[in-house]
């Protein structure tokens, strides 16, 4: 009985690991080659997540916006995108480590397109593992 139980757990974890491998991989993987599920403006993304409890969490999305700030808080490179209207809310993009060189070409006030893994919203929208697609 104990052996059966242990075996069941092992089977469960092997299958769940295989099942989730695709989405888990995205947390650390370079998203450059992955097609985003949707394209948002910063404003649209914030308002969509504020008004809906169901959204594309754990999906790769693309977002356009104006660079409000580039910082290295917590020793991570982060870009804050701002919307035109909602001044106090941002899209926080935690950048992939591959972006170190690209980020040097970006400055405050630039309009850019970023791809990232959507995690959700607190006050600001949170995207992880972001890559810059292009600066306009």
């Amino acid at each position: 009985m104990v052996k059966n139980s242990s075996f069941s757990y092992m089977i469960f974890f092997v299958f769940s690991a295989l099942f989730c491998l695709g989405c888990q991989r995205l947390t650390n993987e370079d998203l450059s080659s992955i097609e985003p599920k949707k394209l948002y403006s910063t404003e649209n993304l914030i308002s969509t997540l504020q008004s809906n409890t169901e959204y594309d969490s754990e999906e790769v999305i693309a977002v356009t916006g104006i660079v409000h700030e580039i910082n290295t808080i917590n020793k991570r490179i982060t870009i804050l995108l701002k919307a035109d209207k909602a001044q106090e809310q941002f899209v926080i993009c935690d950048m992939n480590s591959s972006q170190t060189t690209t980020i040097k070409t970006i400055k405050k006030g630039d309009s850019i397109l970023i791809k990232g893994l959507l995690k959700g919203i607190l006050k600001d929208v949170i995207l992880l593992n972001c890559v810059i697609v292009k600066d306009k």
């Binding site: 139980s5 757990y9 769940s16 989730c20 888990q24 106090e88 926080i92 935690d94 959700g120 949170i126």
Partner: protein, 183 residues
């Protein structure tokens, strides 16, 4: 005229402050890390987008974090954390609400204070008292500390097969950099 002015200032002075009037600071990219050390394996994870607001007048602190935003070294650890243990699709956020005891927001430099409050995670609430270092530089504050919390307090179901991989007591480290905030 002078009487009217005196009455006006007395009236304004006695109007109770609302929450909107209070001076607040915000940290949008707070860091919370946790560590589990066992003889089988060490598990570390960090969340770098933790939100926190301090009401300096009321000495109240609030913290919110998305549980699916923790970064792990191994994908399988993250999958177990989200899917099996913390069930982040059902309980997406963890929240702490508390009060900074004897906090004096005017002290420039460092002060160590106890933060008392309730931490809610995985649908379970626990009262915590956390020793916290508060550093004030100009209008900005840095709040940091470490505390231990027990896995069993949060109704986290760990299969017997993996029980040896996860410590009973988890070490939690936090650091928040606050800047002035207008609600």
């Amino acid at each position: 005229m002078i009487r009217i002015l005196i009455i006006f200032f007395l009236t304004v002075g006695t109007i109770p402050q609302t929450d909107e009037d209070n001076e607040k600071v915000i940290a949008r990219q707070g860091k919370v890390s946790f560590f589990s050390y066992t003889s089988v394996e060490d598990i570390k994870a960090e969340n770098n987008q933790v939100l926190s607001v301090i009401d300096l007048d009321k000495k109240e602190i609030a913290v919110r974090m998305l549980m699916n935003a923790f970064i792990f070294e191994k994908a399988l650890m993250r999958e177990h954390f989200n899917e099996s243990y913390l069930e982040t699709d059902i309980y997406p956020e963890a929240v702490f609400e508390g009060k900074i005891m004897d906090f004096d927001s005017t002290i420039v430099g460092e002060q160590t204070r106890i933060v008392k409050g309730v931490f809610t995670m995985h649908g379970n609430s626990e009262e915590l008292e956390i020793k916290t270092k508060i550093l004030k530089e100009a209008d900005n504050y840095i709040v940091s500390g470490v505390f231990e919390t027990l896995v069993k307090d949060y109704n986290i179901n760990i299969p017997p097969l993996l029980a040896g991989n996860i410590a009973k007591s988890i070490s939690v480290e936090f650091r928040f950099e606050y800047e002035p905030y207008e609600d």
